[in-house]
């Protein structure tokens, strides 16, 4: 494959990189006030990249996937659909940011640019077919994320979040690298395809440890139990738009990347990874549900909710079947909509001086002061809990369907029973919003961008979402098919 076609295959990343670098230069020579303009341009760049992505995905010669740079990078339906979700999530996180930072002039042009760089990294993560590409993408995303977490330098919680994320993230990267080096040592290559071919039969202790370490590093990135400890603190400390971003785009990237590593590189070693993923999935579901019960801060609660949801995503992965991966991608799409919607609702929690509120008690009686926002909040909560007729149910449905079809009944039964525990805290939020007496703390009116986004996302997770199944299902099926 010649260089030109390789470059064409990575054109979305390329386009984003050039845009980000140009914008960086613009920022260097422009006044602080240009932040808003840079944000708009960044959104435009992401839109441009999405269009390139669609053009690529519809080119017939790339159906079923095409390798670039001698197998370092792969453009296929799986990567494209994940990337499309990532771009969408990044666009939404950018759209809600300026208003949040408006007060005190803390919003700076670096914010959209960091998001762009993180997005480039995520694009590489989901398309990587080599441990090296994977690691570079991962670090590009992580380094941007560390800075984003501590974006409000003057806020002690934000700085703490950034530092904590950095230290623990570096540890996880170390584990991942060590695992990669072990696998490389035994397989003789960093390419997923070659690793998959050379690791056959029963795994020796060396590559097995390598596999465990790689999975540990990846589990940290998707905040799965037992590597989830950073999540609540970082989600709570980071500025809310950043948290919304963390809970959506990087989650998609990390889960998709994990799927590719497992299926491509360790596809022949099902017995080795499956039990790990099953354990991690169930532990995430149970801990995410139980630990959320006592939370008083809505952002921490949503952090545990994201851990809980990762568990359900991993059930799809644990099956190791095409149907399971397809279900996982479907769940991801719905999850992104639900979690972004919930976080934008959190963004609207502001007191009369327009200061952000985060405590659950400030939501009391919201249904009487802001009925629209309350209804949207309830929709997202019931949807996250997976109660039909909301669309969140469908995500859980397809995942459990895949598990049952793969003959993993105990996994499905335990997972589904644990989701009842999770339902408790979601309906507790609804209870606070609808049953309690008004606290009258949230009095600021909503912003039209936020309201519009909430309305769109709420409509998507409402029962109307079911009408989208015939449109989305073929995409996720094609994505899964391209992985095998």
């Amino acid at each position: 494959m010649d260089l030109a076609s390789s470059l064409w295959l990575v054109s979305p990343e390329l386009f984003l990189s050039v845009s980000a670098l140009i914008l960086l230069l613009v920022v260097a020579w422009s006044p602080e006030k240009a932040a808003r303009l840079v944000t708009i341009l960044s959104v435009a760049a992401l839109f441009g990249a999405s269009i390139l992505l669609m053009v690529l995905a519809h080119q017939t010669e790339f159906k079923g996937g095409a390798d670039a740079f001698d197998g370092l990078y792969r453009m296929d339906e799986f990567g494209s659909s994940a990337k499309f979700l990532i771009y969408l999530a990044a666009i939404i996180s950018l759209m809600v940011a300026p208003r949040f930072f408006r007060d005190g002039g803390k919003y700076r042009s670096e914010y959209p640019i960091l998001i762009l760089f993180a997005t480039i990294g995520m694009g590489m993560m989901v398309s990587a077919t080599d441990m090296m590409t994977l690691y570079i993408g991962l670090e590009l995303n992580s380094l941007s994320a560390y800075v984003l977490a501590s974006f409000i330098r003057t806020d002690i919680r934000s700085s703490e979040a950034g530092l904590k994320y950095f230290v623990l993230g570096a540890l996880a990267s170390g584990m991942l690298l060590f695992g990669i080096s072990l696998v490389y040592g035994f397989a003789g290559s960093t390419s997923f395809a070659v690793i998959g071919e050379s690791l056959t039969g029963d795994l020796a202790t060396g590559p097995l440890i390598g596999l465990v370490l790689v999975l540990s590093g990846l589990a940290f990135k998707i905040s799965a139990v037992p590597f989830h400890m950073w999540t609540p603190d970082v989600y709570e400390g980071a500025p809310t738009p950043v948290t919304a971003f963390f809970a959506s785009a990087p989650k998609v990237a990390a889960v998709a990347m994990t799927a590719r590593v497992i299926i491509d590189a360790f596809g022949g070693q099902t017995s080795a990874w499956q039990q790990i993923i099953v354990f991690v999935a169930l532990a995430s579901i149970v801990l995410g549900a139980v630990a959320a019960i006592g939370q008083q801060n809505i952002k921490r609660l949503l952090a545990y909710s994201s851990i809980n949801n990762v568990g359900f995503l991993l059930i799809g992965l644990a099956t190791g079947t095409e149907q399971g991966i397809s279900a996982m991608m479907f769940y991801l799409a719905i999850y992104v909509a639900m979690t972004l919607g919930a976080f934008i609702c959190v963004l609207e929690m502001r007191d009369k001086d327009d200061r952000p509120l985060e405590s659950l008690s400030s939501l009391a009686g919201l249904s009487q002061t802001r009925p629209g926002l309350a209804a949207a909040f309830a929709v997202f909560m019931f949807s996250l809990a997976g109660i039909p007729p909301l669309f969140g149910f469908w995500g859980k449905f397809v995942v459990f369907d895949a598990a049952v079809a793969a003959g993993m009944l105990p996994l499905a039964v335990i997972g589904i029973a644990a989701s009842v525990i999770g339902a408790y805290y979601y309906i507790k939020v609804v209870k606070i919003i609808y049953f309690d007496d008004p606290a009258n703390e949230i009095v600021a009116t909503g912003h039209k961008t936020e309201n519009g986004l909430i309305a769109v996302l709420a409509l998507f997770v409402s029962p109307l979402g079911y009408l989208a199944i015939p449109a989305i299902a073929p995409i996720t099926a094609a994505a899964a098919a391209s992985l095998f």
Binding site: I387, V413, K431
Partner: protein, 511 residues
């Protein structure tokens, strides 16, 4: 008529009404809700008239594969028809019963009720197993809100309990449904699945998973404890809909899924069902006897009546199943009416404590007469709807096991005990409390609520054929389906042995 998508219309109309209520003010919402529910009731009457008795089993079928994995597939048989008519009949009454007693957040209340109506009719019309599940489960949301927002003092506990209990049961059912659909090769149509023979060893587990859901919904002892809490805390209309329709979903589930899909497993677990039901009949009747709270008393009596339903259903014969369905319909009317009767005096005195009343027959004669009618119907006096169903159920049960029937009949005697005791304490005796003395008799609105139910109760009691004709064919099909697993009755009638012929000559031979 068969071409008009009447079932979809009955589902969408309340939904549109709910949206309209949300956009309206309190006064407007009340009228919109009443108009919508009356329109749906009119449609259901149309449905009943157009339903061909003895025609095809599934009528008014609609099929739109709009969801990819499953379809918007609707259709009803006679059993579903009767339950839909019951739902549509009770809904306007619920709306009217909340006319004055609900003062806060009226638009939301009415919207919740209309949404609930869509889901309840949806459960009875769904022909796709996943559509059924969605409708079945979605009812949790409006009911959670109804109990939690407009309920009594301990409403939050009751709302949580209701929600989580029901959710756990249903989720196990979902796994079983997924397994079944996978087994049937992706087939999601309920009529097809009803004719699918699942391997007996798998049936055991599937039956248990479905049982977990329906037993909670029903509710059967010992998972009935959410019901008294939910009833006591819910507003009057909420109790009516809970007792009148939601409890019927459990029985409907047994009829639609457990029995026809897993006949062998149903037979295998027959003693589990009988055992739990026998305990329920006796135990909850005794508990009802000592209640001080009127709503709690009626709630426990509901558990006892539902136990008669399960006993009749698992008798595996025509009388038992038809009787169980009639008990379901009758209980829907009677318990709904009893909760309304409680609501009437609760609105006046704001207490449900039985001792605070007494002598109501003196100053509220109209009320006392209607209350007595419903009390008698609950006991199962001949001439009322209660008698028909209970008698048939017990006849069917007697064919299977006379001892179980003996226990169940004892429960009915106990039922007479607690209901008459309740009636005596509320309606008879002297008027001792000053505030009770000042209570006015039924208003025109309250009469309009109770009179139609009274008429229906008498109609069902005197001429049950109107209600049994539509279900006869479907019960026949069900009995034919489960006959292969039907248990052997304990009443083994033996022909006496013919006496040996002593004197041949006496008979002689025909020459």
């Amino acid at each position: 008529m068969q071409n008009f998508p009447i079932l979809s219309a009955m589902l969408l109309l309340p939904l549109l009404g709910a949206v309209a209520c949300l956009l309206s003010d309190a006064r407007g919402a009340r009228w919109i809700a009443l108009a919508t529910t009356l329109a749906v009731f009119a449609l259901s009457i149309g449905l009943w008239i157009a339903f061909q008795i003895g025609g095809p089993q599934w009528q008014f079928a609609e099929y739109y594969p709009v969801f990819g994995r499953f379809a918007w597939a609707l259709g009803i048989d006679g059993i579903a028809l009767m339950l839909i008519v019951l739902t549509a009949f009770l809904m306007p009454i619920c709306i009217a019963a909340s006319w004055d007693s609900i003062k806060e957040r009226v638009p939301e209340f009415m919207a919740c009720f209309l949404f609930m109506e869509t889901l309840m009719i949806g459960v009875f019309t769904a022909q796709d197993i996943f559509l059924f599940y969605i409708m079945f489960e979605a009812g949790l949301i409006p009911m959670y809100l109804i109990i939690g927002i407009w309920g009594g003092a301990n409403r939050i506990y009751a709302a949580y309990k209701f929600f989580l209990y029901t959710l756990l049961g249903s989720l196990l059912m979902l796994v079983a449904m997924l397994w079944m659909v996978n087994f049937a090769g992706g087939e999601t149509s309920i009529p097809v699945l009803m004719a699918t023979d699942f391997p007996p060893e798998a049936q055991t587990w599937l039956w248990l998973a479905f049982f977990a859901s329906f037993a909670v919904k029903m509710p059967m002892w010992p998972v009935h404890t959410w019901l008294p809490d939910a009833h006591v805390q819910a507003p009057t209309a909420g109790s009516v809909i809970l007792a009148g329709v939601l409890l019927k979903m459990g029985g409907y589930g047994f009829l639609r899924f457990s029995l026809p899909m897993f006949p062998e497993a149903s037979e295998q677990f027959i003693w589990l069902v009988f055992g739990l039901s026998m305990v329920a009949v006796i135990y909850t009747s005794l508990v009802a006897l000592v209640q001080q709270d009127m709503k709690k008393l009626i709630a426990y009596s509901s558990v006892a009546h539902m136990a008669i339903v399960t006993l009749g259903l698992f008798a595996f014969n025509r009388q038992g199943i038809e009787g169980a369905i009639i008990v379901m319909l009758s209980h829907g009317l009677v318990s709904g009416a009893l909760f309304l009767c409680v609501g009437v005096i609760y609105d006046r005195l704001h207490t449900r404590e039985i001792d605070r009343y007494g002598g109501l027959s003196i100053n509220m004669p109209k009320y006392a007469i209607l209350f007595m009618l419903f009390t008698m119907a609950s006991i199962g006096l001949p001439g009322t709807s209660g008698f028909v169903g209970e008698f048939l159920s017990l006849v069917g049960l007697y064919k299977v096991n006379s001892w179980v029937t003996l226990v169940a009949t004892t429960g009915i005697i106990l039922g007479a005990g607690y209901m008459l005791y309740l009636y005596r304490r509320v309606a008879f005796g002297e008027l001792v409390h000053e505030d009770v003395k000042a209570m006015p008799d039924l208003s025109a609105r309250e009469m309009a609520l109770l009179a139609p139910i009274a008429a229906a109760v008498l109609w069902m009691g005197v001429y049950p054929e109107s209600f049994m004709a539509p279900i006869r064919g479907d019960v026949g099909a069900l009995v034919a389906r489960i006959d292969r697993a039907a248990p052997v009755g304990d009443a083994q009638l033996k022909m006496g042995e013919a006496k040996p012929v002593i004197n041949d000559e006496a008979y002689g031979e025909a020459h």
